[in-house]
């Protein structure tokens, strides 16, 4: 089964990096450049996994995470948070809200792949 993965980040370079990291893995990849677009795509396409930037225009990553976890049809969606703030309060808030993993920018593409594998296949 081909997994659909959504990457939501307002930085085009970060979306490109994620695409480059997983291009050979055969995912169906969707991109969103802000939180509102991300939430619309999530509802429409029901991706298996979403990578959410914490700080985006529109809905923030944490808001979307909350919406996913409180939506009966989406609650099983795997979520990895991408954050540019190394503040522990943000990270804790994300994990408490039900994120599977978080990655702090700059992150290693190798780490990203292993976290994605773990979230999707374990």
């Amino acid at each position: 089964m081909t997994h659909t993965v959504l990457i939501a980040d307002d930085e085009p370079s970060v979306r490109m990096l994620v695409q480059a990291t997983i291009e050979a893995d055969g995912y169906n990849v969707l991109e969103a450049s802000d939180g509102d677009e991300a939430w619309a795509l999530i509802q429409e396409h029901r991706p298996s996994l979403v990578l959410l930037d914490v700080r985006m225009p529109g809905r923030t990553g944490l808001e979307i995470l909350g919406s996913i976890k409180s939506h009966p049809d989406l609650v099983d969606t795997k979520v990895i948070l991408l954050t540019a703030s190394a503040q522990e309060s943000d990270i804790d808030a994300g994990l408490i809200a039900g994120a599977d993993f978080y990655l702090t920018k700059p992150f290693s593409p190798r780490d990203l792949r292993s976290k994605m594998d773990e979230a999707l296949f374990l």
Partner: protein
């Protein structure tokens, strides 16, 4: 001996700028020094009429109670902080040291107002959080793509795209660091402005030339003929103009003319830059000039930038004593950014010697050397400003650099001799190597001395100016 030990401690109690008090275990203040009223605004009677807990910030009451409990059990309190209410409804942070007095059921406590420290710390924390956030984003590309490129094969086209992204993000990181340091220097007051009379049209012309041409977003300059000289640090104002022009271009993705205009209001000149671009939502306008603020821009791809340009521009203009602002009728309606500068007053435009010199450091040296000879000077950073000044200031001599940003020193000299029919003595100081013909040409244009720019040249120039003025006077 006895007089020193019997001194009245009441005096110390009343003099202290720290807040001193005796409080009872019943929860009331028993005695307070005047610093309480000075800090919080409440009178001593008001403070003693209610339990002190009434004045403690609701969020701090639990912690305060726990400290009071410690005191009741005979322990001391040190480094405890809580917020106390002021009469005007605000709160002040107090840092406490307190101890039980033992026999008479009283707590003896000293508090210091640390509100300013606390606020400074918080501002610093926020700034650090923001800076680290802004630095991490471009680093993500640099670290991520280099790891990928080292670990896997990509097509030539992909490699090129990734390397270009790394280069761009590396440049963005560099800009960010440079601009951040600029801003810190300005906020710390380390960046000194070299204010002098300046010809605004020349500054605009130089900024427009540096901005370069772009057929999609041509820059149109429309300035009134009779603009007064302004008080400005030429390079800083050009930096502001460049920032505003580059923003106007960046946020006009569909093109459109960018218009530079100026208006005179009494003793200020307002410069504005108008574009026909994306426009700015009303709620974003007040935040535009804050550090790292970026207008949320979800419709189009995010525009590159550091979020510091406008904050720097604001600092520069405010250091000039001017104002900056922005207006927009909303998204899609374009925007207008403006700043004001003071018009140069007559006093800043008069002096004995006109210095036409774009090198600020050397101009300052000349000014100092001339000052030692009892001569005042006015500094013009370019020939165009000098043209305007020469007619107004009543200068008796000119010190002239040849290599200037716009028109050259030779051009200025030619105009000085023809248009103004002036016989003013001129001393040329230049870094250029002049051959005999060039020197002769200057000499025949009435230049009294041609000096090579070196460390002692300012002193020599001042000497020649003094000699020339003396011989004229004789």
């Amino acid at each position: 001996m006895s007089s020193a030990s019997n001194v009245d401690y009441e005096g110390f109690f009343n003099l202290s700028v720290d807040l001193l008090c005796l409080a009872g275990y019943d929860g009331y203040f028993k005695r307070l020094n005047p610093a309480w009223t000075q800090t919080l605004g409440f009178t001593q009677i008001e403070l003693m009429a209610r339990p002190y807990m009434d004045f403690v910030h609701p969020d701090d009451r639990e912690a305060t109670l726990a400290e009071a409990e410690k005191l009741a059990q005979g322990a001391n309190v040190i480094h405890f902080r809580n917020r106390y209410a002021c009469r005007d409804g605000s709160y002040r942070w107090l840092a406490w040291s307190a101890m039980p007095t033992g026999s008479d059921e009283l707590i003896c406590a000293v508090a210091r107002d640390v509100t300013d420290e606390v606020e400074l710390d918080r501002a610093k924390d926020e700034l650090i959080a923001m800076v680290s956030h802004e630095l991490r984003t471009p680093l993500a590309s640099l670290v991520g793509f280099s790891e990928l490129l080292l670990s896997r094969e990509f097509t030539a086209a992909q490699r090129k795209q990734y390397l270009e992204t790394m280069l761009n993000e590396g440049r963005r990181l560099t800009d960010l660091i440079n601009e951040f340091l600029d801003l810190q220097r300005m906020e710390g007051g380390y960046a000194r402005l070299n204010l002098g009379p300046a010809d605004l049209p020349t500054l605009v012309k130089r900024a427009v030339a540096t901005a370069g041409e772009n057929p999609q977003t041509p820059i149109e300059v429309s300035l009134p003929e009779d603009l007064p000289l302004v008080v400005a640090d030429a390079n800083s104002v050009i930096q502001v103009l460049l920032n505003l022009l580059s923003n106007a271009r960046k946020y006009s993705p569909d093109g459109g003319t960018i218009l530079v205009e100026a208006k005179v209001f009494d003793d200020t000149v307002e410069v504005s830059i108008r574009d026909h671009g994306l426009g700015i939502p009303a709620d974003a306008l007040p935040k535009l000039f804050s550090k790292f603020y970026r207008v949320p821009n979800s419709v189009r791809r995010r525009t590159s930038g550091t979020g510091l340009g406008l904050a720097i521009s604001r600092k520069i203009i405010e250091s000039h004593g001017g104002r900056v602002g922005a207006e927009s009728d909303g998204l899609g309606q374009g925007s207008r950014f403006y700043f004001t500068l003071r018009a140069a007053e007559a006093t800043t435009r008069s002096g004995d010697v006109l210095l036409v010199e774009d090198d600020v450091g050397f101009a300052r040296l000349l000014e100092a050397e001339l000052g030692l000879k009892g001569l005042s000077s006015v500094w013009a950073p370019d020939a165009e400003t000098a043209d305007k000044l020469i007619g107004q200031m009543g200068a008796r001599a000119v010190v002239l650099d040849l290599m200037l940003p716009g028109a050259s020193g030779e051009d200025f000299l030619a105009r000085l001799r023809s248009t103004h029919k002036s016989k003013l003595p001129v001393v040329v100081v230049t870094i250029q190597e002049l051959d005999a013909t060039e020197t002769l040409a200057l000499r025949s244009a009435g230049v009294v001395a041609v000096l090579k720019k070196h460390s002692g040249a300012a002193k020599e120039a001042a000497g020649f100016v003094t000699d020339a003025l003396t011989s004229l006077g004789a």
